[in-house]
Structures are given as structure tokens and as C-alpha cells.
């Protein structure tokens, strides 16, 4: 019989995987991985603010992520710097401010490791409610705006000319990413959040025949990865957040080996037998 906390962890992880997979497809297609990293750095500032003002952590992380996203949109228009430089500036400013703010709060004892690497075994029923509630919201919005989001991803100009409102789609995507970062922070931690977005999509890509197919596959792969990581961490007694990401890497490496390589190994062994 599995322990309650372990089952809760699996339910929470599944909830995150279900939304992170489909949304992660957009992160991969639109090359937003670094944007995801920036938001996760900002998440630490959110944690600091939550402790400072004694508000809900998820809400604080979400608000800071939204703030950073909007700051990025504004800076892209005003400042003559490339997006990746701007993202670097924003990420490290947020991270540094967060750390400085935490150091001022001498009365708070923070388990920094818990925030950096997640604490999936400590999820409460309330956390699960937030994850599944927030996740359902993200999925509904994603399904409703799927068409315009996808059109804007393929080509902004076609989308604009043919009446799909791509700017609106971009803002929706940023908001959804902020929600996913906020709800998945507890599972894998600030440092590894982006991996929940990128790994399942990257793995699904190899088997997908269409964009919608890839989104569904990514969700399934995400769940497999969470289960693999959790049972691995149980078996080898390793930290669960990093274990999930290790499981994802292993999964990715296995699927990244092209089928032809297997063929080659087979062939070369046959040749060896011949000689």
C-alpha cells in the first residue's frame, strides 16, 4: 500500500503534467524556453513577496510572472536590445531582488532548497485543489484560443491579415505560462519548472503527426515522466523534483536515438559475426 503523501504527490504531478505538456508545445514551437526560465527566476521574487506580505505563494508568484511578462512586452517596444538580453536582465533582476528581500526578513526561516527544487511530497489537498483548478482553467483557455494561438505561431502576418488578432493571442499565452509556473513551482521547484514545459513537448515531437496530436502526446508523456520520476525517487530514495527531471532526460535520450542507429548496431554485430 502506498502512503497518502505519495498518492497526493502523484495526483499533483499528473495535474501539472496535463497542462504543462500542451502549453510546452507552444514554448518549443515559439522558442520561449528562455522566457520560461525568466518567469521561474521571477517566481523566487514572488515567494519573497508572499512571505513579506503574508499572502498566498501561488498568487504572488503568478502576479510577479504577469508583471515580468508585461515588463518584457513594454521593454521590447521601447529599448533597443534583443529579447534574450532583455530576458536576462529581467530574470536576474527579479532573482537578485528576491534574494535580497529574503535576507532582510530575518524573522522568516525559509527552506530555500524547497523552493529551488520543489517539495512534491509535501503537497496538501489544498495544493492539489489549486493545481487542478488552475490547470483546468489553463486547459479551457488553451482550447478556446487554440486556433488563433496556433495561427499566430505559424505566421503572425497571415494571422493578422486574416483577422486572428495575434497580439491578443501572445498576451493569452504569457498569462497561461504565468499560471502554469505558479502552480507547478511546488512540484519541481523554481530551477526545474521549465523542464516540465520543454521535456514532454520535445519528446512528443518525435512521434507527433500534427500540432494537436503533439499537444495530447506531450500531456501523456508528462504523466509518464512524473510517474517514472516518483517511483524512481521512492526506489532509490532520491529527491523527487530532480528525479522527475532525470526521468524526463532519460526518456528524451532514449527517444532521441534515431531508429536507424538501432539498425546500425544490429548490422554491425551481424558483420562481426560474419568475420
Amino acid at each position: 500500500m502506498m502512503d497518502d503523501f505519495f498518492i497526493r504527490a502523484l495526483i499533483a504531478g499528473t495535474g501539472v503534467a496535463l497542462v504543462a505538456g500542451p502549453l510546452g508545445c507552444y514554448v518549443v514551437w515559439r522558442r520561449l524556453a528562455y522566457f520560461g526560465d525568466t518567469l521561474s527566476c521571477a517566481a523566487l521574487l514572488g515567494v519573497a513577496l508572499a512571505l513579506l506580505f503574508e499572502i498566498n505563494t501561488t498568487l504572488a508568484v503568478f502576479s510577479v510572472s504577469v508583471f515580468i511578462s508585461m515588463a518584457l512586452l513594454l521593454l521590447q517596444r521601447r529599448v533597443n536590445l534583443s529579447s534574450d538580453a532583455l530576458l536576462g536582465l529581467l530574470a536576474h533582476s527579479a532573482l537578485a531582488i528576491g534574494m535580497v528581500a529574503l535576507s532582510f526578513m530575518t524573522w522568516v526561516r525559509v527552506d530555500l532548497m524547497g523552493f529551488l527544487f520543489g517539495d512534491i511530497l509535501a503537497v496538501t489537498p489544498f495544493d492539489i485543489a489549486i493545481i487542478w483548478g488552475g490547470g483546468a482553467f489553463v486547459l479551457i483557455v488553451l482550447v478556446i484560443s487554440w486556433h488563433s494561438l496556433f495561427a499566430a505561431t505559424v505566421n503572425v502576418e497571415i494571422a493578422q491579415a486574416e483577422g486572428m488578432r495575434p497580439e491578443q493571442a501572445n498576451i493569452v499565452l504569457m498569462l497561461l505560462m504565468a499560471v502554469v509556473i505558479a502552480i507547478s513551482m511546488k512540484i519541481v521547484g523554481v530551477l526545474l519548472i521549465t523542464s516540465m514545459l520543454i521535456f514532454p513537448a520535445a519528446i512528443a515531437r518525435r512521434f507527433a503527426t500534427g500540432p494537436e496530436h503533439m499537444a495530447v502526446l506531450a500531456a501523456i508523456v508528462g504523466i509518464l515522466v512524473v510517474f517514472g520520476g516518483m517511483f524512481g525517487s521512492l526506489h532509490w530514495d532520491t529527491p523527487s523534483g530532480p528525479s522527475i527531471v532525470v526521468a524526463a532526460s532519460v526518456f528524451f535520450i532514449i527517444t532521441a536515438i534515431p531508429a536507424t542507429s538501432f539498425q546500425m548496431i544490429k548490422n554491425s554485430s551481424i558483420e562481426k559475426n560474419d568475420t
Binding site: V28, F150, V154, I158
Partner: protein, 282 residues
């Protein structure tokens, strides 16, 4: 130009300013239903910019752009980059900005000679194949206006003629307006109703058919005129230099090009009965 109920898009004295210079300025144009308007001009003359302003992709910094309410546009941009990580088959691509019935999608693909590609992955198509798919997508939407930015790129010569004929047929069938962009100063298709020549501003406009029917034209291009292609020769008598000044053919440099048009009335005032090659040496 006369604005009436059939006008789909209108630009009035429109200009776009980017990174310290005007990409294009003072453009007036109207596209009506059932009419093909071609924009020609050398590289960097503002053809794509003008088209983008006309259909609302870019907002003009000067002048106005007007689009008929609820106008259904199909747009073929000059370049499309599809990320390698994005798996998308031609069938799905046909429904990119709106649901198209399978039968209509297949008909459009057959028209452009791309039906055999329906199940192919878009990323594996060659330039010419992709162009045909883009064209099919534009047709299948049954638009009121098609905007094509250099639609014959990567298409071989026979395919080029086919595509130009196709554009004409689509216009006849759908009764839609067509805004066509070509960088080729010499080849403009016969079905073009009007041609606007851009070079950072409107240099001239007129009907190529009157040009094609003229004696000089037949003497010059008799053999090709039969093939369904009209040739519209065009020579610029001045060049716009990077610093914004204008160099005439005789080498003199001026602040703007108005003086180059010599003693002729300014070129916007040319009438539709424009029936000579555009060689306004003044």
C-alpha cells in the same frame, strides 16, 4: 482614384516610418472587387510594406488605411518560416485561420497542382511546392481579397505562367480583388488591370493592357504576348540614394524626385488611358 462601394481596401497618402527613414511614403491606392492591381518596383522600394499597410498588418505612420468592414482576406507573405519542431501536414495547414471544408481544400489543391502533397508534412516541401500549397490555402478560403507577395518565388518558368493564369482564373471565378506584388519590372501578367510602380513612393500607374496592345509593345514582345504574359517594360530615370537624395540618370543629385518628372504633370495625375511605356525622361 475613385472610391466607390466596390472598393475593398484604400490607402490615402500612406507612409511607414521605421528606424529613422521612410520605407514608403505618399501612397494612394484602391483595390476594387474583381480587379487585379499589381505593385512593381525594385528591391526595397516598399512593395511589401505598402501591401501590409493596405491590409492592416502594419499601421501607417502618415496618411490613412481603410479596409471594408469584415473583409475576408487571404494573404500570402513573401517568406514563411515554420519552426522545425512544429509538425503540420498540408491538410491541417489548409485550415490555419479558419475551417475549410475538405472538398473545397482538395479542389483548391488540385487547382494549384498540389493535391498529391495533401498528406505531406509542410516542412518537407520544396520552395515551389510550398508556394502552391500557400496558393491553394488562399483560394480555399474563398476570400474577397487575395494579397500575394511575390507568388512565383521558387517556381520554375512553366509553373510561373500557370500560377499567373491561375490568379486570373480565381479572380474570374470568385470575383475577388487581387493585390499582387512582383519585383520583376519586366514581367507583369496580362490580366493585371492596373499597375502601380513604387520606388519609395508611387512613381507611376496605369493599365498594362493598353501597353500590351500598343504597336511598340508588339514589335518588342510579339512572341511572348501570345503566351498569356504581358510584358511591361519599365525604366527608372532616377535612383533614391541611401541618404534620401535622388540621383537622376544624368548624374545630378536632388533633394526629391519631383523635378525628375520634368515638365509632365505629377505622376499621380496620370489617367487610366495610360498607354505608353513608362519612360518619363521628361
Amino acid at each position: 482614384m475613385i472610391q466607390n462601394n466596390s472598393s475593398l481596401i484604400t490607402l490615402k497618402n500612406a507612409g511607414l516610418f521605421r528606424s529613422g527613414r521612410w520605407l514608403v511614403r505618399g501612397v494612394n491606392l484602391t483595390v476594387n472587387s474583381g480587379e487585379i492591381l499589381t505593385l512593381i518596383g525594385p528591391n526595397g522600394s516598399g512593395k511589401s510594406t505598402t501591401a501590409k499597410m493596405a491590409i492592416g498588418v502594419s499601421k501607417p505612420d502618415e496618411g490613412t488605411a481603410h479596409k471594408r468592414q469584415g473583409l475576408k482576406i487571404s494573404y500570402l507573405p513573401q517568406r514563411i518560416f515554420i519552426d522545425w519542431t512544429l509538425p503540420i501536414k498540408v491538410n491541417r495547414f489548409m485550415n490555419l485561420t479558419g475551417q475549410v471544408r475538405r472538398k473545397e481544400a482538395d479542389e483548391a489543391l488540385s487547382l494549384t497542382g498540389a493535391i498529391h502533397l495533401a498528406k505531406s508534412d509542410v516542412r518537407t516541401l520544396s520552395g515551389g511546392e510550398f508556394q502552391r500549397v500557400l496558393m491553394a490555402r488562399a483560394i480555399a478560403r474563398k476570400p474577397e481579397l487575395i494579397v500575394l507577395d511575390e507568388p512565383v518565388q521558387g517556381v520554375d518558368f512553366n509553373g510561373e505562367i500557370e500560377i499567373y493564369e491561375l490568379i486570373r482564373n480565381i479572380r474570374d471565378e470568385l470575383k475577388c480583388g487581387v493585390l499582387l506584388i512582383s519585383h520583376d519590372l519586366h514581367v507583369v501578367m496580362a490580366a493585371t488591370d492596373r499597375v502601380i510602380c513604387l520606388n519609395g513612393h508611387v512613381c507611376c500607374y496605369g493599365t498594362p493592357m493598353s501597353v500590351a496592345n500598343s504597336k511598340e509593345y508588339k514589335v518588342l514582345f510579339g512572341a511572348r504576348a501570345v503566351s498569356g504574359l504581358a510584358l511591361y517594360q519599365h525604366r527608372h530615370d532616377h535612383e533614391h540614394l541611401t541618404d534620401g537624395t535622388v540621383q537622376s540618370k544624368d548624374g545630378t543629385i536632388d533633394d526629391d524626385c519631383s523635378s525628375d518628372h520634368g515638365n509632365q504633370p505629377h505622376i499621380y495625375k496620370h489617367s487610366f488611358e495610360y498607354n505608353r511605356t513608362d519612360n518619363h525622361d521628361g
